[in-house]
């Protein structure tokens, strides 16, 4: 048996402004793997990401840092960097049809711990005009206990479809 444990599956097939996954991080695991699949957006846009704290509130403080390499199969690669931002702003740049919508695998480290920052690794691939992927890192520089997360679009339009699965990485002592 592998040490990956499915914790939660959240999906939407109707247009929503945001999609939240709550109460998935706890003391059982330190490392989590999250997949985002079957995504279709109302407009070509960046999908953005925020954490939800133990009180159930979305963390909007200016304590997100990120560094993302943007990989374009049809043009020069780009760098996306932010410090003291209010979100992780480059989860994936995705399309308006499910056929062309991209997919993401993310790893999160120590979200539940209130004595450690929450770090993330992200790798995605989708399409804009051509194939377009990302490889990135981000951190929430806040010592708070995180229990969930939320995705939404930079431009405010809807997420028409998405499936989010959260797994815990079990450590056997």
């Amino acid at each position: 048996m592998s040490n990956l444990r499915l914790i939660n599956e959240t999906s939407t097939t109707t247009g929503v402004a945001s999609l939240s996954v709550t109460d998935v991080f706890n003391a059982d695991f330190d490392i989590y793997k999250i997949t985002f699949t079957n995504t279709e957006l109302a407009s070509l846009d960046w999908v953005e990401f925020r954490f939800i704290n133990s009180s159930g509130s979305v963390v909007t403080s200016s304590e997100y840092d990120e560094a993302v390499l943007e990989l374009d199969s049809g043009g020069s690669f780009g760098e996306g960097r932010e410090t003291n931002d209010t979100n992780f702003s480059r989860l994936i740049r995705s399309q308006t049809t499910e056929a062309k919508g991209g997919d993401v695998t993310m790893f999160l480290f120590n979200p539940f711990s209130s004595s450690s920052y929450t770090f993330g690794l992200v790798q995605s691939f989708g399409t804009i005009t051509n194939g377009f992927g990302t490889k990135g890192i981000f951190v929430l520089t806040e010592l708070s206990s995180i229990k969930g997360f939320q995705i939404y679009l930079n431009g405010g339009s809807n997420i028409n479809k998405s499936t989010i699965r959260t797994y815990g990485l079990r450590v056997d002592s």
Partner: protein, 208 residues
């Protein structure tokens, strides 16, 4: 239902305790709450020159995310690329129906953007050396292979020794840009030479 009771479970919601029955476990597994979530589909071990490693029973209807793990992979010819292709209806697509965007970093200096939006495969490793002990390792995630109304996306990361005998790592991804139900994955050398050795494990990532 309450879990942890053999025989007739009590008709109330209570905390789990006691011994889980096989029915409990089967029910919990069906909901994704028990059992490992990385399920091995097939292992292929290569120990002599082989043209391609084909996974033709990928159980696509069970998984919308697949995970390929490659360890100690070695090319028979120096300075070559391990590559990926997909099959539809049992036939591997050799047309220019793939795109890739991969960033490479070498310990002997330099980075490179390896990209193409109209090509017949997706690179998995690049410029891999094949001298003694020069082997590569890496992984790839495949998304929505079985979905006939969706393109198939790949993200990957590999770590190798390059043709100059220095460390080289690659990360990025690609897309099979056809809306078709993919039923197979092929690993091969992009120039048609052989795979000398390696272990390839294909997993399904569990879903409910």
């Amino acid at each position: 239902m309450p879990y942890g009771y053999t025989g007739s479970p009590p008709n109330q919601i209570i905390n789990n305790s006691g011994v889980f029955s096989s029915a409990d476990i089967a029910d919990l597994q069906s909901q994704g709450h028990a059992g490992g979530s990385l399920e091995l589909i097939e292992t292929q071990t290569i120990s002599s020159n082989t043209a391609a490693v084909d996974f033709t029973n990928i159980k696509g209807s069970q998984y919308d995310v697949h995970f390929l793990e490659a360890t100690n992979i070695k090319n028979a010819t120096d300075n070559q690329q391990f590559s990926i292709r997909m099959s539809v209806g049992g036939t591997f697509d050799t047309d220019n129906d793939y795109q890739r965007a991969i960033f490479t970093i070498s310990a002997d200096g330099g980075t490179d953007e390896s990209r193409d939006s109209n090509i017949n495969n997706i690179f998995f490793t690049l410029n891999q050396g094949n001298a003694t002990n020069e082997k590569g390792n890496g992984y790839a995630y495949f998304y929505n292979l079985h979905n006939s109304s969706k393109m198939s996306f790949v993200t990957l990361q590999t770590t190798t020794i390059n043709v100059n005998g220095h460390y080289k790592m690659n990360f990025g991804g690609g897309v099979y840009d056809q809306t078709a139900s993919v039923d197979g994955i092929r690993i091969f050398m992009s120039n048609g030479s052989n795979i000398a050795s390696g272990v390839f494990n294909l997993y399904g990532v569990k879903q409910i």
